[in-house]
Symmetry: C2
Subunit: 339 residues, 2 copies
């Protein structure tokens, strides 16, 4: 196959909030496909909060993207040419190809998707890394029991929306925290949470107290900062806090400290950081529990799709400005399964 492959590269490391100037585009020629290799065209590209960490060279749980390299990210793609017997042209695959129109590899990093089982874009969201993150954090770390109260911040997002619906499926009270009246309405009316607090307009502590009459048994923490500090004031005895993210703090240029840990001591509560990539062995259990809930519409999801590879930087920056509503996805090329 001839043609060009457009890529978005990391050009510079952000100080504080990422900007478009941290990225640059380049067109490179597509090379002939070697024996054993699989060439695919990116259909969907995921943008996720963790990418802020990869743009930085501070010590973190994964190596940063090198300057000049293709920006990383999960993808859903269509195989366009295969010299590997395990794949055929037309196969739809999930991978980690990053911000580019085409990718080639020996296919070991690819997982075939069945377009009849679920829309293939869900491999980036509710049935992909974000859904698995919700599962591992809520079920394995939070260990919810029926009747307990589960709070989740960034409740309308890719992870938070699954946390709350999975909590409901397990018999818990689910309370969201989100950044607009529209998001709160969606979380309660569409996703079936019991309540949702608007962190931009509500007085957080009394609003959480009202939404959680039996206090908070599990806080699935995505946000950190002032939201976490308020949650800590409404904890129940024996509370568990799976610490998934701190999006409100990712663009800080200096350490602002954190919340007082008094509540952890008084309530014998637990905070535990986790990274979904440590828990690959839980993938079968995740799919077994969550895929049927998605199929039966007991777990709903929402995607916020933006078109064109060049829009990816804007899509990522939008996450930190809460401009997305649902799982943020960049459509790099048309989805053939929707034809």
């Amino acid at each position: 196959m001839n043609g060009k492959n457009r890529r978005i590269l990391l050009k510079s490391r952000p100080v504080g909030m990422p900007t478009a100037a941290n990225f640059g585009a380049v067109d490179v020629p597509l090379l002939p496909v070697a024996d054993g290799d699989v060439l695919r065209r990116t259909i969907y590209l995921s943008v996720d909060p963790y990418m802020r960490g990869r743009m930085s060279d501070a010590d973190s749980y994964a190596a940063p993207v090198n300057l000049g390299d293709v920006m990383c990210g999960h993808t859903v793609s269509e195989v366009v040419e295969s010299r590997n017997p395990a794949f055929r042209a037309g196969d739809i695959v999930a991978g980690y190809d990053g911000w580019q129109q085409y990718a080639v590899s020996n296919g070991k990093d690819l997982r075939k998707l069945d377009p009849r089982a679920a829309p293939v874009s869900t491999a980036l969201g509710v049935l992909g890394m974000p859904g698995m993150t919700a599962f591992v954090g809520l079920i394995d770390i939070g260990q919810p029991r029926a009747g307990e109260t589960v709070v989740v911040s960034a409740a309308s997002g890719a992870v938070g929306s699954v946390v709350g619906q999975l909590a409901k499926a397990r018999g818990c009270r689910a309370v969201g925290i989100a950044g607009s009246a529209e998001k709160c309405r969606y979380v309660v009316e569409e996703l079936g949470f019991d309540a949702c607090v608007n962190y931009k307009t509500d007085d957080l502590v009394p609003a959480l107290q009202a939404a959680c009459p039996n206090r908070i048994d599990i806080d699935f923490e995505n946000v950190g900062g002032a939201v976490l500090a308020a949650v800590l004031r409404v904890l129940n005895r024996g509370a568990r806090i799976p610490l998934c993210g701190r999006i409100s703090e990712y663009n800080d240029t200096e350490d602002r400290g954190g919340p007082s840990l008094r509540s952890l001591l008084v309530n014998r509560a637990m905070i535990k950081g986790f990274i979904v990539s440590d828990h690959g062995d839980r993938m079968p259990a995740f799919i077994q529990e969550v895929a049927p809930l998605v199929r039966d519409r007991r777990i709903k999801y929402r995607e916020d799709v933006i078109d064109g590879l060049d829009a990816a930087p804007r899509a990522l920056i939008g996450l930190f400005e809460s401009r997305n509503f649902g799982k943020m996805i960049v459509r790099v090329s048309p989805d053939p399964t929707l034809a």
Copy 2:
């Protein structure tokens, strides 16, 4: 028995550091002993950091001492008159009689001590609540494995000294944090810790890095504040932090916040608050493991004894000024077992 019973009462609630003015003494007559009751004379009275919480009426894990009531505390006493068949005059008992010379009850709250097994004052320290706190936090929450590095703040104190020696007995590297060169020397030379950092004179993060070449797997946290913030910067992947106390923050009059939780996320680390009184079922396991270590001098202890009930307020205030060196005990009356 006739005579008077001197008591120290809580007169007012402290704002910030407790002062002598928060306490008042009163002499009340001793009443005749009723059928079924046990009268005992206090020999030793324990003063412990948790008492700061009982002086305050802020929400905490136990009810505060009411104004005008006898200040609470663990005691070791001699039975002077018993009308209860389970006790005889001369028995030595551990109880929770508080800051007074005499106490009377039906004896259900008393535990008989064997003066031949260990000095009876150890029932307030290494073989009492502080030792049990070290055991539950280190073993049950920290889950140490041989070869791991255990850091403990307030390392020369009643809890910290047991944590480090128990860690050594379990095959770990033990690193203390203490507030003077003399305490650090004691921790290393007498107690056998591998290293000790002086938080008053050392640059904490580099000193911890030097003392913990494989980073920190368990931090038994007694202090909070700047010490905890430094520890968080030297955590190993998968670290566990039993949160036992925050003595550096107990007298704060406003919430100063806490450390950034970034390290918990990056290192998939866990912090869990606990209260020893939740874990009474572990008492037999504690005694079984620790009593032989104390008998064989593999766990050493140091007591800081001050004489006279009226010295109790000063002894408690001294804890928050790091003036004690070892388990702080008030000797209220002579110990007959040492005669």
